[in-house]
Amino acid sequence: MIIDHPLLGPRDSSEFTYMGDAALIDRPDPEAEDAAQAFYEYAYLRDNPAGWHRELWFHEAGDRSWLVVTRNTLTHEISNVELARDVARSRGRSA
């Protein structure tokens, strides 16, 4: 499997480490009323889709950047690769 790194170009997936569902970027607000329930869901509940999935990959043997990779879990086709930093910032995080 080849991951087309947005900065470095196509790199072998063996250089990367899978770090879970990209929904982890959306950490709940710890000050919110329902924080306990939100963090329970954030920490423990995952979708397990057969098909397209947005996931976090860490370029451990490369530039150490975190990526959001949109991958089809049935075919391993990758349709989109973004820097996780850019995704987080587009949602108002780490601005």
Partner: protein
């Protein structure tokens, strides 16, 4: 005044095996510069003043006395001669102030220079980078012998500089020597090159 020499990671002699020479280079002071949030432009200007240009993605700016390369988004490694820049991190902190987090890196890395005709063969045995496509000044972080290393293609054609974790300097040196021996002794080849 004492005439003190910096303590090297290994202190091994340069070794020539076949047509490859592996030398520990303890003369490089290192420090990293990471732009703080929202300070990328300030850091870019600082780097331009320091190096003459901002290192692009996957590239080094080979400049004297300070040189630098891109490590990751908004992160750069700066190197300079140890003899004159042992306090490189302090110098950079003064220059960048609160715009960047500066970390002393001399104590974290061991530097090996690998030179010789068979350098690309050695590189191909050790790591997953397209060494023959790399030009002078190209830098890639990769894994050698399970160790995260930077490989820098230097100005001269047969020269790469490898930065590896200093605490594993012995293991990395062993890997380089083993690969060099393997190339020198490869059957049917002279110095790892196909016999024409």
């Amino acid at each position: 005044m004492h005439d003190l020499t910096p303590t090297p990671a290994l202190g091994v002699e340069a070794r020539t095996i076949g047509s490859v020479t592996i030398t520990e280079n303890s003369g490089v002071a290192l420090a990293s510069v990471a732009a703080r949030r929202g300070e990328s432009d300030v850091c870019a200007n600082g780097l331009k003043a320091l190096l003459g240009a901002v290192p692009e993605v996957g590239r080094a700016v080979l400049h004297d006395p300070e040189a630098g390369f891109w490590m990751g988004p908004d992160q750069w490694m700066i190197g300079a001669p140890m003899a004159t820049h042992e306090d490189l991190a302090d110098q950079l902190k003064v220059r960048f102030g609160t715009a960047a987090s500066v970390t002393e890196q001399s104590g974290a890395w061991v530097v090996f220079d690998v030179t010789g005709d068979s350098m690309p063969d050695l590189c191909e045995l050790l790591c997953n980078i397209a060494i023959r496509k790399m030009k002078a000044g190209d830098v890639q972080r990769t894994v050698i012998h399970q160790l995260g290393c930077f490989v820098i293609r230097r100005a001269s054609d047969d020269h790469i500089r490898i930065l590896g974790p200093r605490a594993a300097a012995g293991s990395l040196h062993h890997a380089l020597v083993t690969a060099a021996k393997s190339i020198a002794q490869a059957p049917g080849t002279a110095e790892g090159r196909p016999v024409a």
